[in-house]
């Protein structure tokens, strides 16, 4: 046990735990302990075994087919690995509770919030239904959900993601557990909501004196939440220590690589342009800097804009009467206007429901606009012929968040990459096409030998490279990257960011970079547009938006981003409120905000 931890008996102590799934070992010889009232963060990238560890403590990993090859999990003087499932059922929910990653799917859609909280109370506590309901209401108050008395009779789908995660927390805390396991509890949430949830968790932990195991891949969240950190890599613990020590002087090469890859908000302060940064990679067990550092001064603002979006509005009819009259509408995008210049990266940032993806889809003609126009190279979509519009699909390429879903699992990746070439008739002859596919694969760092493989044979990062190769195949002028980095581990993310930048420098590509991740946006973009409920709140150069944010919303967004530095001053101001529902009745359209240019190129929406 680490000397930094208290000497009192730990609440939970995992000793030499090894977990197997079939023949493969996913956790090996893992030891750590949790003291009452303290938080241990387990960090690691996908496949590090961190989630399996949490499910093993709960003995829920059994249901997924896990076997425990070695070790003990001591809790309250009992080895949980020796407990029967019947004994475990008395511990689960009562002594040890768990919060999961996906708040949208963690609650059973067919039962009310109240029923689901009461269930655990009725199971473990000596309460009748009425008492349980009263307690449920109290718990909802505890997680600062308004109108708790009314909320108990509502169903999960009537709640936003943030509210659902609060319900999950309330449910987990119902029986005052001694230990709370939180498995990526905020990963699926928007940053402002994440900040709220983290604050609540921190405060409740303090109030209840629980021990907490916090599992995350986000170093920023670690810095905000953890007392102690366990770093896992490929199923093994590589480093353990107090949070300050891990951030200040990481010992293990992997920890150092990981920390180096984390995009840190504010790291670009003072820079006029984005910078391609060298990567820290593990080579022969030692972190090493590879690649050049280069200022990404690629945007050609002297040219005419490549893409021009003028007063774009997009709306969806949500509800109709039987006579087809629309009563409710979602104004996804209202009067949005921006230009993208050749060689430029324009970032569209915003939270769920901001309309950022809808704009991207409209530019790619996957969605039609209600009003406004988009012109490419000076020609409006509305004046183009069908053939011209089809050609636009060659000039503008799209990269999605989920690379697996966007590749046909039954086709080789070579076939997928060649598809745009064939569709647009860019090359003729199998030989020439094959050469081009090989070049593209080499270019995205995969190598031509991969052309004959199928998507499932690749990792997430490799698949995203394949998607990039496919996007490059038709030699486009503009690539729309829609959350293209969001599903990737940070080390992979850093590589792909560099790939994007290199391609931009080589080919003069323009990017429309759609993202919710402020730190990544700061690293990559020339200009930034902040979207909120379908309107641009603020737009300007990266520096203008990040260093002198003018709009309240931009400031709130920036303040919410967890800072990967435990020494940094924590934002204790709780940001209240949820993102409003953009669906409205017909006739009650949201006000269109005007905008003013406060500095050359820096636009801010006027308040309504």
């Amino acid at each position: 046990m680490s000397a930094t931890m208290d000497n009192q008996t730990p609440l939970l102590s995992v000793e030499g735990l090894s977990v197997d799934f079939g023949v493969s070992r996913v956790v090996e010889d893992l030891s750590f302990s949790v003291q009452p009232g303290r938080t241990v963060a387990i960090v690691g990238e996908s496949g590090s075994g961190k989630s399996v560890t949490s499910l093993s403590i709960m003995r829920l990993a059994d249901m997924m087919g896990a076997t425990f090859a070695a070790g003990r999990i001591m809790f309250a003087g009992q080895d949980l690995l020796q407990a029967s499932q019947k004994q475990m059922r008395k511990i689960r929910g009562k002594e040890i509770a768990m919060i999961f990653q996906e708040p949208m799917t963690s609650l059973n859609p067919v039962f009310t919030i109240g029923d689901q909280i009461c269930e655990v109370l009725l199971l473990h506590e000596d309460m009748n239904k009425a008492e349980a309901l009263a307690e449920a209401t109290r718990l909802l108050d505890l997680v600062r959900l308004p109108d708790s008395a009314e909320l108990v009779s509502r169903y999960p789908h009537q709640l936003s993601g943030g509210m659902r995660q609060r319900v999950m927390i309330a449910m987990a805390l119902a029986c005052r557990p001694k230990l709370l396991i939180a498995d990526e509890p905020t990963t699926a949430l928007d940053v402002t909501i994440q900040a709220q949830i983290l604050t609540i968790m921190r405060e409740l932990q303090k109030d209840l004196g629980m021990g907490m195991v916090f599992i995350t891949h986000d170093m920023g969240v670690v810095a905000e939440m953890a007392d102690d950190v366990v770093v896992m890599w490929k199923g093994k613990k590589v480093e353990q220590g107090p949070v300050e020590q891990i951030f200040a002087s990481p010992q293990h090469p992997y920890t150092r690589t990981l920390l180096a890859a984390v995009p840190r908000l504010g790291s670009m302060t003072g820079e006029a342009f984005p910078k391609r940064m060298p990567l820290t990679v593990l080579e022969d067990g030692q972190p090493k800097l590879v690649g050049e550092e280069r200022v990404q001064d690629t945007a050609r603002y002297g040219d005419k804009p490549l893409l021009s979006v003028k007063d774009l509005s997009i709306r969806f009819d949500i509800r109709k009467t039987i006579f087809g009259k629309v009563t409710h509408r979602l104004s996804a995008v209202s009067k949005v206007a921006f230009d993208i210049y050749p060689g430029e990266t324009l970032a569209l940032v915003g939270e769920s429901g901001s309309g950022k993806s809808t704009i991207g889809r409209t530019i790619q003609q996957l969605q039609s606009a209600h009003s406004g126009d988009i012109s490419f190279n000076g020609r409006g979509y509305s004046e183009m012929s069908a053939a011209d519009r089809f050609r636009m699909r060659q000039e503008i390429q799209y990269i999605f968040q989920d690379p697996f879903a966007s590749l046909d699992p039954r086709k080789t990746v070579g076939f997928s990459i060649a598809e745009p070439i064939n569709t647009h008739g860019l090359l003729s002859g199998g030989q020439a096409i094959r050469r081009r596919v090989d070049e593209l694969l080499e270019r995205v760092g995969l190598g031509s030998q991969y052309a004959d493989r199928y998507p499932h044979e690749f990792s997430g990062g490799q698949r995203q490279r394949i998607c990039i190769a496919r996007a490059l195949a038709s030699d486009p002028k503009l690539i729309i990257a829609d959350e293209a980095l969001s599903a990737l581990d940070v080390s992979i993310q850093a590589q792909i960011i560099n790939l994007f930048m290199d391609l931009q420098a080589e080919r003069g590509l323009a990017y429309l970079f759609i993202s919710h991740d402020m730190a990544v946006v700061e690293k990559m973009s020339h200009r930034v547009a902040v979207l909120y409920l379908g309107q641009i709140m603020e737009m300007g150069s990266r520096r203008q938006v990040f260093e002198t944010p003018e709009h309240d919303y931009t400031r709130r967004l920036l303040a919410s981003v967890p800072v990967a530095d435990p020494a940094a001053q924590r934002n204790t101001v709780l940001i209240e409120g949820d993102i409003p529902n953009p669906v409205h009745r017909v006739g009650e359209e949201p006000a269109i905000l005007g905008r003013e240019e406060i500095n050359p190129g820096h636009f801010v929406a006027k308040s309504a």
Binding site: M58, L60, M63, M88, R89, K90, I91, R92, G93, K94, A97, M98, F100, Q101, E102, T105, S106, L107, N108, P109, V110, F111, T112, E119, V120, L123, H124, Y155, H157, Q158, M168, M171, T321, I322
Partner: protein, 307 residues
């Protein structure tokens, strides 16, 4: 809700018109009921045929006949059977309860069997029990229903003398026809329940339910099953429609006086009014079942209820 019902009703009217139009037209291509009435008998003359056609009304143009039929539906008057001249509504009125009772019994047996079996198979996925259930379901699927029926009759009626081989009477008369249908339905349903359950068991809320310390029975039958209900009810609803079609064979084998028997005899005799009426009633039943399914959706899934 009112709008929804109106929409359904319009849908039902369209379906009934489309189907009856097709069936009425098609059956008129296959032969003349007047000729059938003479049993291919020798002494019939063209005069005789003309006389019978006039009596039956089949001498009128097709669309006149069809519109008469449509007009009849509005007053629940389906005309008279060409065979014997009985009011079609009487025949249908006798046959509907017989068919519905049989269909409900079969569905009920099948649902009661297939849900626990399907859940057992899903929870023991890949293991012996799962394999066994899947093999039995495969065997069930490969039975032709008339063969199965014959085997049951041979065993339970003739060899053991326990159950009546045919006819509709007391509860005992439902056992074999109900079981024949149910075995075949269960074979499919078990697989469906298994697949749906496997999907649901992947859901996060199932894990959450387990993390609360709930027993497996509660996790499966309370949390998971209710969420399986939407796809299952959709399928059972569709199946009920299919079942009404498939019941013809079973009704014939077990001499069950239902809609299937009525339709079968009507086709044989080119008894247009009876056939048209049976088809209309079947379409309405299917539309009705779908309506019930839609209502059930709302009861089961709050996401639909609060739309």
């Amino acid at each position: 809700m009112a709008g929804f019902l109106v929409k359904r009703l319009l849908q039902a009217i369209f379906v009934v018109i489309a189907i009856t139009l097709l069936v009425s037209f098609a059956i008129r291509l296959t032969g003349d009921p007047a000729v059938t009435m003479f049993q291919g008998g020798g002494s019939m003359t063209e005069d005789d045929l003309a006389r019978i056609r006039a009596a039956l009304g089949t001498d009128k143009p097709f669309f006149v006949q069809y519109f008469d039929f449509l007009k009849g539906i509005l007053t629940l008057d389906f005309g008279r059977s060409f065979v014997g001249g009985t009011q079609v509504s009487t025949l249908i009125g006798n046959a509907i309860p017989a068919t519905l009772m049989l269909a409900f019994v079969s569905m009920a047996i099948s649902i009661v069997l297939s849900i626990p079996l399907g859940i057992m198979a899903a929870t023991s996925r890949g293991k012996g029990l799962d394999q066994a259930i899947r093999i039995f379901s495969l065997i069930g699927l490969s039975f032709p229903n008339f063969w199965l029926a014959t085997m049951l009759v041979l065993l339970f009626s003739i060899t053991l003398g326990l159950l009546p081989p045919s006819g509709m009477g007391g509860i005992e008369s439902y056992i074999m026809p109900g079981a024949t249908m149910a075995i075949i339905l269960t074979a499919t349903n078990v697989r469906l329940v298994r697949t749906t359950m496997l999907d649901t068991l992947q859901s996060q809320y199932v894990m959450v339910a387990r993390a609360k310390g709930l027993s497996e029975t509660k996790v499966l039958y309370k949390h998971a099953l209710r969420n399986c209900a939407i796809p299952l009810i959709t399928y059972f609803g569709l199946q009920f429609g299919g079942l009404l079609g498939g019941i013809v064979v079973i009704e014939r084998v077990f001499n069950w006086p239902g809609l299937g028997t009525l339709a079968f005899d009507a086709v044989g005799a080119r008894d247009y009014p009876v056939l048209q009426a049976v088809i209309t009633v079947l379409s309405l039943l299917i539309v009705g079942i779908n309506l019930l399914v839609d209502i059930a959706y709302g009861l089961i899934d709050p996401r639909i209820r609060t739309e």
